[in-house]
């Protein structure tokens, strides 16, 4: 096999893995977003089965302490968690890239100030800041989205800034600026398109972090009010009953981990395919 053929094969492999991770991601999103179609029972219907029933044909994931169907609760909880993640990711994307791109374009003391602020925010443990905001705003889907979105912005800003800086140094931008094009226009029309893939990597990492943050905040008691539940709330409830039933905590735990892994995996594969494109060109 020639060197070219080997390289070709490797590129195919990266492509294949990338598609697989995308399908997994879309599949996971579809399952949660179609919760109302897929759920066999209502998520808050009490007594559709025995208390703490183990998995069976009627209740694939078993039932909880009030005899609610765990599969249905997980599907609906997952929908809330995924919506929170998507909302938070959008906020982080808009806020963070505006922040980073501004710093990258202007440079000088504006850059220094914006990035020092990002550093300061990142010096505070995420969970500490989240505690602040949630205790003031109260826990609702909207406040969880807002808090997670704001918390994920500084790291997004760092990433956007370095991507913009690298792009601004590339020959086509330098020559365009030299021939009199406006830098801001260039960034808006050209640079944004070129850094979009890198932003997409950051988006999927952010989504994974948002799921983790939501689960963590819900686990320490800042989640949704019952009977509504996100995945984190379900873990909290299941953990409180761990002496009665292992299934009640096991299935939400597995679901949260799978969701985070799927998001992280997509980001990782995307990054790998970007790297392989860059090295092959």
């Amino acid at each position: 096999m020639t060197f070219e053929a080997l390289k070709q094969k490797k590129r195919m492999k990266v492509k294949l893995r990338g598609s697989a991770s995308l399908i997994l991601l879309l599949g996971t999103l579809a399952i949660f977003l179609l919760a109302n179609v897929l759920s066999p029972y209502g998520p808050n219907d009490i007594g559709v089965g025995d208390h703490f029933a183990p998995p069976s044909g009627a209740h694939l994931f078993g039932t909880d302490n009030l005899g609610r169907d765990l599969l249905s609760r997980i599907l609906f909880g997952g929908r809330i968690t995924v919506l929170i993640a998507l909302g938070a990711t959008s906020i982080a994307l808009i806020l963070g890239s505006a922040w980073g791109i501004l710093a990258g374009i202007r440079g000088g003391w504006i850059d220094e100030f914006l990035m020092r602020t990002a550093d300061a925010l990142m010096a505070v443990p995420l969970i500490l800041f989240a505690l602040f905001c949630i205790s003031a705003l109260g826990s609702s889907v909207a406040s969880l989205i807002l808090v997670a979105g704001i918390l994920l912005s500084p790291s997004t800003a760092r990433m956007a800034r370095s991507a913009v800086k690298a792009e601004l140094a590339s020959p086509y931008v330098v020559s365009a600026v030299a021939s009199g094009f406006s830098k801001v226009r260039l960034v808006w029309n050209e640079v944004m398109v070129n850094i979009a893939p890198q932003l997409l990597v950051q988006i999927s990492i952010n989504a994974a972090s948002a799921v983790m943050l939501e689960a963590t905040l819900s686990f320490v008691g800042f989640g949704l009010q019952p009977p509504n539940a996100s995945l984190g709330t379900l873990i909290l409830q299941g953990y409180a009953q761990i002496y009665n039933s292992i299934w009640f905590v096991l299935f939400p735990v597995i679901t949260v981990m799978m969701t985070i892994l799927v998001f992280n995996n997509y980001g990782e594969q995307l990054r790998l395919s970007l790297d392989s494109k860059r090295s092959s060109s």
Binding site: R116, I127, F132, C133, M212, L261
Partner: protein, 320 residues
């Protein structure tokens, strides 16, 4: 060296001040009147009484004045008093620090041992099945929230095997055996949260050192592998190791919040969560300042040591 120290100190100080001010402002900007929260629901709370309370808490001044008064207190170690228990915040935080420091210490020790061992096993044959397996476990570790690791450990060791208590804390004064027994699960949970970052970092930096040209030269001129290790690899590994230790301390401090809460360890992390649910903002403020300061000081100290042992670091960091 002086320029390096000054520059790093200045930038640490700026980050510290910025984050402390952010902590203060975020509480004032967010909606919710602490006085109303505490006394609004009580019967017989007249508007005049509420105003008096605001006055005594200093909440009637303009925000900038409040900020200055509060910062002045913080510098002197006075973080105000708790809205709920009326105790000085510094006292509340002070009581909780030993447990957090003990837990952080154990997390750092266990995580270091665990990661170094796993990395040494993994890099014996890079790309082998063992290496790949450790890689997979590490990437699953990245995706696992701390409390899930905690739940798994509690299930195995407390519920199935009944060898360890599922939660609680006893001070060392009450007997070291009891203290350690209760520390094992939270410490291992924390260590398993921190280790994936360490393993990834260590593996890359060791592989980089091994394939660098000066190692090839040293081998090529006929040095034995132990001499290469002692004279060339180890000295060049000091800086990455120190950086790594700084990283672990940082991660451990950030990770102890939920771990302390779920294992009922009375540290500053669980204090933060408790005061957040009670909306005791003055305590939350105090805890935040202490945690942020610990964070920044740790980073600064490790930067200093790195700059001291490796002159290249000084230039690099000043330039960037």
């Amino acid at each position: 060296m002086t320029k390096f120290i000054l520059r790093r100190a200045a930038s640490s100080a700026i980050v510290l001040v910025l984050s402390v001010v952010t902590v203060f402002l975020s509480i004032r900007i967010l909606p919710g009147d602490p006085v109303l929260l505490k006394f609004g629901a009580q019967t017989g709370a007249t508007p005049a009484a509420l105003d008096a309370l605001r006055e005594s808490a200093g909440l009637n001044h303009p925000m900038l004045v409040q900020l200055m008064i509060w910062l002045g207190g913080v510098v002197r170690g006075d973080f105000g008093t708790s809205f709920i228990s009326q105790l000085p915040v510094s006292e509340l935080v002070g009581q909780r620090i030993p447990a957090t420091l003990e837990l952080t210490f154990f997390i750092v020790v266990i995580a270091s041992i665990l990661s170094v061992l796993l990395v040494l096993i993994a890099i014996r044959k890079p790309g082998s099945a063992t290496d790949r397996f450790i890689g997979y476990v590490t990437s699953i570790g990245f995706s696992t929230p701390s409390f899930i690791i905690g739940i798994i450990l509690v299930y195995i060791f407390a519920l199935r095997w009944h060898v360890l208590p599922s939660q609680g804390f006893k001070s060392i004064d009450l007997g070291i055996v009891q203290n350690l027994k209760l520390m094992i699960l939270p410490a291992f949970t924390g260590a398993m949260v921190v280790s994936p970052y360490l393993i990834k970092y260590l593996r890359t930096s060791i592989l980089e050192t091994r394939t660098s040209s000066y190692i090839r030269t040293a081998k090529g001129k006929g040095l034995s592998s132990s001499a290469v290790l002692i004279r060339h690899i180890l000295p060049n590994s000091i800086v990455p190791t120190l950086t790594m230790l700084g990283m672990i301390v940082g991660f451990a401090l950030g990770g102890v919040f939920v771990i302390e809460y779920m294992f009922a360890v009375p540290g500053i992390g669980s204090l933060a969560i408790e005061s957040a649910s009670a909306r005791d903002y003055s305590v939350l403020q105090g805890v935040s300042v202490v945690v942020i300061a610990l964070f920044i000081i740790t980073t600064f100290v490790f930067d200093m040591i790195c700059g001291f042992v490796d002159p290249r670091q000084r230039v690099l960091q000043v330039k960037s």
